[in-house]
């Protein structure tokens, strides 16, 4: 029995069928596994919210009723082991950064990171405070920066759409444009590593500050300090029996 041609079948309005080629007359479709996996990877990006402060509230607003990240398949999960994207929302302090790094290491590959808000991007006006690290990209690699203080939920969604594009390019083997920190385009600042070096030199004689800065320096995995930590002369003992 001959199969009747299905000529008046209209394509479904579903993103999956953008990738499928329907063959006229036959009720099956062909695609490549790669395209199917790319569709799945870009439309089910589960988010691990590394929400520490104000941006976390806007992140909650983005996940809640009005903007609703579920529309693009992004479910918020409380555990790093099931997630693809880490959204770093809020100020990251020296005390918190090792925890962020550890949670990032617990996420399975492939994984991406979105830095949300100016604190996560550069430290904002807390950048010169002793306890705040100047941007999360000194500890973990960042794929998309979403500037704002805090960014609107719509801006976060735009950032995630941008991330989807990057994932598509990466899976297709095409060159992915390198992401620049937004502030670097606007003004020239003192390089943060240089500032750390200056601080190290200034406080090399103080053992407590030195220990703090060394622990902070261990986070700088991407751009190590050139020349290492300056030498410290042992302080002369003061007081005591004399």
């Amino acid at each position: 029995m001959a199969v009747k041609p299905n000529e008046d079948a209209r394509p479904f309005e579903h993103p999956l069928y953008d990738y499928l080629e329907r063959v006229p007359g036959l009720d099956f479709a062909i695609t490549s596994v790669d395209k199917l996996l790319t569709w799945g990877a870009t439309n089910s990006m589960w988010i691990f919210p590394m929400a520490t402060s104000c941006c976390g509230i806007e992140f909650m607003a983005a996940a809640a009723s009005r903007v609703d990240l579920d529309r693009m398949g992004s479910i918020v999960r409380g555990t790093p082991r099931q997630c693809d994207v880490m959204v770093v929302a809020g100020t990251i302090t020296v005390k918190m950064a090792p925890r962020v790094k550890r949670l990032w290491d617990q996420m399975p590959e492939p994984k991406w990171c979105v830095a949300m808000g100016s604190c996560a991007i550069s430290g904002d006006f807390y950048r010169d405070i002793y306890s705040v690290i100047p941007g999360i990209d000194v500890a973990i690699p960042v794929d998309v920066y979403v500037p704002g203080c805090p960014p609107n939920p719509e801006q976060l969604m735009a950032g995630l759409i941008k991330l989807q594009e990057k994932v598509r390019l990466k899976r297709a083997g095409l060159p992915v444009p390198k992401e620049e920190r937004p502030e670097a385009l606007e003004r020239t600042i003192t390089p943060r590593i240089g500032r750390i070096e200056e601080r190290l030199k200034a406080s090399a004689q103080d053992p407590v500050s030195r220990a703090q800065l060394e622990s902070a320096q261990r986070l700088y995995v991407r751009v190590p300090v050139e020349g290492g930590v300056p030498e410290v002369k042992p302080a002369k003992p003061t007081g005591g029996a004399e």
Partner: protein, 405 residues
């Protein structure tokens, strides 16, 4: 808010050893054959509302000791404010209690005005009071949503109430965005008055938002009148009046412990002396009492906001000239303390000015209500199960930006 449904009778969970909660419990003196387990809750945990960390020592499922750790969001705000001029401090303080930024701005600027002897015009006072009440509604709505989410799947799928609360909170944020241009971090208060005047059509917008919130609140609170909700909150995390006063709790936590104290009525600022603030008090001291008090405050804030928006007088909005240089505001040497009623309690600002630096504060101390709420953890957690700990922490509502500063 009458929760009429009685609690479901369940078998009581009895700890291995009867004890009174002791925050300084020496674990070596605890029962020798007890199999204690150490559990670190936080700093990244969905129900700690930020980066709060509690180390719990568990005997089975019962907490015998809880040790809170803070400092994961320490941003050195007080030190930063000492370096900034008076006009530049306001946007920094927005990030302090990020659920109610309006109140932070107001507290600091009231301290500056008191130190400099500036009298705020009546229109600005009305507007500040109105913004504070609207912010209180938004803050309590966020609390209700996250609290219901903490209590979990028993409440109609866990995130249902959260979704409803955020839908209503967005209405308040729309009102603020119309006025100041920002959803939060408004920077609308400055020394001597307010920066943004009421745009045309804004009172109508406020009325619409308030009407919508009031009508919808009744609709979805039915979901919380549920035996499981009562069972999980009634008698859980009881703080009696004595302990609450010793810990320095304030705001809804203190009123839920039966102490009738509200700065809006007892030490009025702004135009609260012209209003008749009805203070909600509940003697229960448990999570259910805190829930009832906060809901009553939402309704009271809606009533006060309606009164205020209809009666804003005409006149100037600021007693000072517009800012043209950051060193414009200078203070004489002295010190002041100003406390206002934030959604979480008494938000105090202690400001010392020296004559060496007339444009900067010499010392800027913030008295955050959340710090005292977080300090209640070792007193309240012991004796409860692990699942109750999440409910108690949700009902205490500490904001870590305020605790760590």
């Amino acid at each position: 808010m009458a929760v009429a449904v009685e609690a479901v009778a369940t078998a009581p969970v009895v700890p291995t050893k009867a004890f009174v909660p002791d925050p300084y419990l020496d674990l070596d003196t605890y029962e020798a054959d007890a199999d204690l387990m150490t559990l670190s809750l936080g700093p990244q945990h969905p129900s700690t509302h930020g980066v709060f960390r509690v180390v719990l020592y568990l005997d089975g499922e019962i907490i015998v000791k809880a040790v809170p750790h803070c400092g994961y969001l320490h941003r050195g705000v007080e030190k930063l404010c000492e370096k900034l001029a008076y006009s530049n401090i306001t946007p920094v303080l927005d990030k302090n209690d990020y659920v109610a930024p309006m109140l932070n701005e107001q507290a600091a600027n009231m301290a500056f005005e008191k130190l400099m002897g500036i009298e705020v015009p009546l229109r600005a006072k009305y507007l500040r009071t109105l913004l504070a009440e609207l912010q209180r509604i938004a803050s309590h709505l966020l609390w209700l949503g996250t609290f219901a989410m903490d209590l979990g799947g028993a409440l109609g799928g866990g995130t249902s109430v959260f979704m409803y609360c955020f839908r209503e909170r967005e209405l308040i944020l729309d009102v603020f965005e119309e006025l100041t241009g920002c959803r939060f971090h408004y920077n609308t208060h400055h020394v001597g008055g307010n920066r943004h005047d009421i745009p045309p059509g804004w009172p109508k917008l406020v009325h619409e938002a308030l009407d919508t919130i009031e009508s919808r609140l009744e609709a979805y609170l039915v979901m919380l009148e549920h035996p499981i909700f009562v069972d999980r909150t009634k008698g859980v995390g009881t703080i009696d009046a004595q302990l609450a006063l010793e810990l320095g709790l304030s705001g809804p936590l203190l009123r839920a412990s039966g102490v009738d104290h509200d700065l809006r009525r007892d030490a009025p600022y702004g135009v609260y002396d012209l209003l008749d603030v009805q203070v909600a008090v509940d003697g229960g001291g448990d999570c259910l009492a805190r829930y009832k008090v906060r809901l009553a405050e939402i309704r009271e804030s809606i009533r006060l906001s309606r009164l205020l928006i209809d009666n804003v007088p005409q006149g100037p909005l600021s007693a000072t000239k517009p800012l043209n240089m950051v060193t414009q505001f200078k203070a004489a040497a002295g010190q002041v303390y100003v406390g206002i009623e934030s959604p979480r309690g008494e938000l105090g600002t202690w400001l010392i000015a020296s004559k060496d630096k007339p444009t900067n504060p010499y010392r800027f101390k913030i008295r955050p209500p959340s710090l005292h709420a977080a300090a209640a953890v070792p007193y309240v957690f012991p004796g409860h199960t692990l699942s109750d700990a999440v409910a108690i922490l949700g009902s205490l509502d500490p904001i870590m930006g305020e605790v760590d500063r």
